[in-house]
Symmetry: C2
Subunit: 332 residues, 2 copies
Amino acid sequence: MNDLLVQVREGNIRAIARVITLIENSDTAAHTAVSYLYPYTGKAHVVGITGPPGSGKSTLVNGLAKQFSSEGMHIGIIAVDPSSPFSGGALLGDRVRMQDLAAQEGVFIRSMASRGSLGGLARATLAVVKVLDAAGYEIILVETVGAGQTEVDIASTAHTTLVIEAPGMGDGVQSIKAGILEIADDLVVNKADRPGAMRTVQALEMMLHMGQVGPIGHHGQQYETAITNEELNPRNWQVSVLQTVATEGEGIAALAQRVHEHRDFLVNSGGWMARERERSRKELSQLLQERFMARLVTAISSEDREAYVDAVALRELDPYSAVDKLFKQIGE
Amino acid sequence: MNDLLVQVREGNIRAIARVITLIENSDTAAHTAVSYLYPYTGKAHVVGITGPPGSGKSTLVNGLAKQFSSEGMHIGIIAVDPSSPFSGGALLGDRVRMQDLAAQEGVFIRSMASRGSLGGLARATLAVVKVLDAAGYEIILVETVGAGQTEVDIASTAHTTLVIEAPGMGDGVQSIKAGILEIADDLVVNKADRPGAMRTVQALEMMLHMGQVGPIGHHGQQYETAITNEELNPRNWQVSVLQTVATEGEGIAALAQRVHEHRDFLVNSGGWMARERERSRKELSQLLQERFMARLVTAISSEDREAYVDAVALRELDPYSAVDKLFKQIGE
């Protein structure tokens, strides 16, 4: 493993792919890789790109990657697909996309599908971002389908988040999920040559004016925050509604420019560091809980644990009292 | 509080409303209420109803409540709306719905909006289900918007889950979120008098045949499961695609009948108890993690915790080593 990690730092593509596979298959590997590589991370600009199926996200991400690549940058793409374990679409899509981008120097693509828990997927994605960061990729595009809290969580660990919509999906912008708009640094209406595009743009702009769009902070934290929303989202950044036709390359250069501007803005305003702290906070909280659960599983036999579950299900014990007893049993 | 809880068991509506407010505002109240009421729970049939905005969910839920009420049952409705804290729509909607259902005996409605964390909302919703169960409501309809993992989690704690779709939302059934179809015990195409209804029904039926619909178990568990998927979802239950026009009351009686059949099926097949155990397992897992985080917050000052966050953000410490140190500091 250590040889591999040295090669990762040198940007060796085979080593990077190998380490990512190890991370996907084992939390221990993730631990080892992150501990080793972490000091070399922190340089990459992590851009989350999320939107509903059918919005043309993948084409847009490919277009952005080509644009950044033509500017001489090294680009990592992580496509997160937690949807169906049946599809196998992730791997197939990978191959198609690889062909499309094969001519581009310095673009690394990896799809990550759910194999087991969503928490595991989010954890693995965070680790893979660090691998690509330490390997010298300057921009890392993290593409998620924007369907669930896990994807919102993943997107919200990015420095910059783009939310993609397409015209005519549902009634106006209904297809955008609760909680997704709130993490957008910019909105993109893709397929902007289609009928209804202006209506979608106007609806999003109206939501902007009503204050329903734009980062308002992050949900579900348990390791409570001391970072104010204003630190995370310094003033003077105006969320825009951009239009693209990714299949034709239209609007991609302008979007790429906007991504650079947001990075500069964050660095100059202090927002970059605030978002790093927020990401660190979430990661600590997550790892702490996992460590605790692992400890519980070690300390209490599965028969004992099942007995508690049964007692609660049968109403012999209420859940709070069961937790009291479990805590006593692990010696708290 | 104890007086209130006695009154809850007697079905006193003011006491129920008061206790729910206390639960929403304090985890301690939830603890007290659940500990007291838990032995009296386990009788209610909990039905999760989820679907995208615009699918006519609320009208459908009201229709179901009227139907069950006309059969002489007591019905609780919990409408979970974690979307925007800006809207205030939950309360307004409540009043409108209350008027609609005011004539019905024995229907209790409560909306729950996110005030802070999504985890808190899910926890409060589970507690409120227990309050209504102990108060003697025989069917509890839990309505969620189906937008995020939290709603999937809430819906997945129900005995029976209905997923609602409407015709012409996006391309076929794209508006249904990943992970939502998999928890459906039945699918409902509401607004079935609209153009495109047959196409939506056919698309859902095709997904059924392809095995992409129907309960395949639940994600994200950390307190690992010993319940097989077959136990949770005994064979011989065929997920159906039903059609309703809730505004006209069409199809509601048939849907209500189907809900009763699913209850009978679960009870006879052993699925009821398997789902109770699964719910208990999730609840224990959740409470254990919360208790642990509360302990951490007590044991380590917020300055110390912030220092760890800063060190990780500045790459002076990797997250895994930080967790090692935090665990040592709380004496593990």
